[in-house]
Symmetry: C2
Subunit: 138 residues, 2 copies
DNA sequence: GACGGATAGGTGCATATGCACCTATCCGAT
DNA sequence: ATCGGATAGGTGCATATGCACCTATCCGTC
């Protein structure tokens, strides 16, 4: 057991903040039956349209296999559809279903509420700047 | 598929930054055979001394059961020991073993290196401030 | 001393994350 | 036409995270 005040770990501090923030968003989205990760994924699909898994993963800066698995619960609930690519049969094209679009629309007000609550207390531009700087520095 | 530029999700941005930062720290700590979560846990134990799981979880702002499971790989590798509490037999007292102390010491230079690299590029005080503000706002 | 709420912890389940390794297909060079 | 590297994706494994629900023990009150 050491003495001396411990220098705080930048990474652990950020992980902790992310846990707290994720819990807040998840709680806000709970009535819509989505987690913030799932909501973000549906939003990507809405913005990008039908897209292969690997490109979707690149867009979200997620590991390819992670994206594959994150799609599973949405697939199971019928919010996204996965079809083989027309040109390249290896590709799996992910797209929003009607139910997915509805779920996204239903969840968006809850997300906006969470977003507004947080953004009112912490300047979102600052958060963005810090986040981008950390990504660049990593 | 909507048009209009998408307002970026504060939570997703932070999650993404945390993934990147965690990967950087994990890579830095790889020679020491620890992940940043595990390193942070060993550091807590070093600072706090033998401590029951629930209190350790509270210190780290982690869910109690999450802490229990995060201890598993460290337990398996003999870096921490878990003994029943002397006064309260329900309590499980977690403590650093000799091997745990050695692993912590061996990993610390790698952690410092990662910490220095990041802190040189992103002001750690700003990161701390943002992290704390987000925790308070959540 | 017995009862009942509070407290310490564990287990099952589900999601989130990434690595190592595998298969299948594509496509350019020969 | 074929061969070999590149590319799309999946699976197994391990960790990280938290919720719901369970047991065991403690302790104050009667």
């Amino acid at each position: 057991m050491s003495d001396r005040p411990a220098e705080s770990c930048t990474c652990s501090a950020l992980r902790r903040a992310t846990r707290a923030l994720t819990a807040a968003y998840d709680a806000a989205l709970k009535p819509a039956g989505l987690r913030v990760t799932q909501f973000a994924l549906l939003r990507y699909l809405d913005r990008l349209g039908p897209i292969p898994v690997t490109r979707l993963a690149a867009e979200a800066a997620l590991e390819r296999t992670t994206m594959g698995r994150n799609l599973d619960p949405l697939k199971r609930r019928g919010l996204v559809a996965i079809t083989p690519g027309a040109e390249d049969p290896r590709a799996r094209i992910v797209s929003l279903t009607g139910a997915g679009r509805e779920a996204l629309a239903a969840a968006t007000p809850y997300w906006r509420e969470a977003q507004a609550r947080i953004n009112a207390r912490v300047d979102p531009a600052t958060v963005s700047a810090v986040a981008e700087a950390l990504i660049a520095a990593s």
